[in-house]
């Protein structure tokens, strides 16, 4: 699984950091998404899918 995060779209709501904290963090400056792992480990994949689903701005995609 590969994750793409669009920091232009991101509104810093923090839903990804809340849902999959091992994979996502937020910038201290403007709260936008930081990818801790571009390719999450298999045990984090379910959480990443949930994070993509709950992202309010559609800033996350997986392939």
């Amino acid at each position: 699984m590969r994750i793409k995060a669009d920091t232009e779209r991101c509104i810093g709501a923090g839903m990804c950091a809340l849902t999959a904290p091992k994979v996502f963090d937020q910038s201290e400056e403007d709260g936008t998404v930081l990818l801790l792992a571009g390719e999450p480990s298999p045990e984090d994949e379910a959480a990443v899918r949930r994070a993509v689903q709950v992202c309010p701005s559609g800033a996350l995609s997986i392939s």
Binding site: I11, G12, A13, G14, A17, D30, G31, P56, S57, G58
Partner: protein, 396 residues
């Protein structure tokens, strides 16, 4: 749509069954995700009740949130309200972005987590005071309202000693029976107070958020006043009502309450489920189409307003199984109680932490917590923009 549309409805406010959405909303959602709605100014727009339709409109930039474009769903007051600089909830990008990006860094998951020890202390102090003064106690006055108020005051750098003043004004603004004149007076009162505070921060800066905004140099004092007003109102009325109404709801569902007492690891899912189940922002939000947009087979024309019923969406069986049952074990994340799209609640991670600390601390302190009056005598906030209970007398 080739099918004839039903006659326009008006937005129902009263929850017949206290915590469940008005029954009309449920019936209408079963008939279709959108239907024509009559607005308070005579405009015929739309009411959206289906989860996927609500979510898609909130994420769609072809719908605007600008105050001057919105028709009032229930009272003329919304339309008559003056536009205020810094009230960025009512702005579209790029104006909205200019404000929001200055603030998001202050409300990250991590920043909010750092507040945990302080919120725990505030919570325990309130519980101490409750224990000394009762039983009985009014859970709203003694617990649910002061905790988020103290927290947001500290975060913004607003003296809590002034809370009587801003709580009165914000309560006037949220009361749906308020006349336009009273609303204007409350808004001016709040604005004058906060403007004075912003000016003071220029000469006496502190570490809190308002000072931080002053020091960026990116906003003028009137804009900072608007931002402060928005955060102050949103920061305490919402969580306060969740804490009180959530406690009421748990007390009315003793087997769920017992499960939570038994297993505190259910706290996080309980908070999400209460957010979904209760959906205290029960009047909107409202958007207006900037161009013709097709939403799930319905044509919303440019200039038409849509009212998005979060409470109907959060009880949509297409999205949540057995939606009318409170189930603290369910995966309720994905509910729309904080909204969706670019205007999704800025303070949601703070609200979550306040609730994740508040409910279990209250239950730990008072193992015999119960209502001190019959449940049917608890007065519900049907006349307020944020739902909840006016008072919640409890004993232990």
């Amino acid at each position: 749509m080739t099918n004839a549309l039903p006659q326009p409805v008006t937005l129902p406010l009263s929850r017949e069954n206290r915590v469940d959405p008005p029954q009309d909303l449920r019936r209408w959602r079963e008939e279709g995700p959108l239907r024509p709605m009559l607005y308070a100014d005579g405009h015929v727009g739309w009411l959206v009740t289906g989860y996927s339709a609500v979510r898609s409109v909130l994420a769609d930039s072809r719908f605007s949130t600008r105050l001057e474009l919105l028709h009032p769903p229930i009272s003329q007051r919304l339309q008559q309200a003056k536009k205020r600089p810094g009230f960025f909830l009512r702005e579209d990008p790029p104006e909205h972005t200019r404000f929001r990006k200055l603030l998001t860094g202050q409300f990250t998951v991590r920043r909010m987590k750092q507040l945990e020890p302080r919120i725990q202390k505030i919570t325990e102090d309130r519980l101490d005071a409750m224990e000394r003064g009762g039983p009985p106690a009014d859970l709203v006055r003694d617990f649910a309202l002061p905790i988020p108020s103290l927290v947001i005051c500290e975060l913004l750098g607003v003296p809590y000693a002034d809370h009587d003043r801003f709580q009165r004004d914000s309560s006037t603004l949220l009361n749906l029976d308020t006349t336009p004149e009273q609303a204007q007076e409350a808004i001016e009162g709040l604005a004058t107070y906060l403007y004075g505070l912003v000016v003071r921060k220029r000469s006496e800066p502190d570490d809190a958020l308002i000072s931080g905004l002053v020091s960026t140099g990116e906003l003028d004092d009137t804009e900072i006043t608007g931002v402060a007003m928005l955060l102050l109102i949103a920061g305490h009325e919402t969580t306060a009502n969740m804490l009180a109404l959530g406690t009421y709801t748990l007390l009315q569902n003793p087997e769920q309450l017992a499960a939570l007492r038994e297993d505190p690891s259910l706290t996080e899912s309980t908070v999400e489920e209460l957010l979904r189940y209760l959906t205290i922002v029960h009047l909107g939000p409202v958007r207006t189409a900037l161009e013709d947009v097709e939403v799930e087979g319905y044509m919303v024309k440019a200039g038409e307003s849509v009212t998005l019923s979060l409470q109907a969406a959060n009880r949509d069986p297409e999205r949540f199984e057995d939606p009318d049952t409170l189930d603290i074990r369910r995966q309720a994340m994905g509910h729309l109680s904080f909204g969706h799209g670019i205007h999704q609640c800025l303070g949601q991670q703070l609200a979550r932490i306040e609730m994740r600390i508040g409910y279990p601390a209250l239950l730990r302190r008072f193992p015999g917590l119960r209502l001190a009056i019959p449940a049917e005598d608890v007065a519900m906030r049907s006349n307020m923009a944020i739902y909840g209970v006016h008072r919640l007398p409890v004993a232990w």
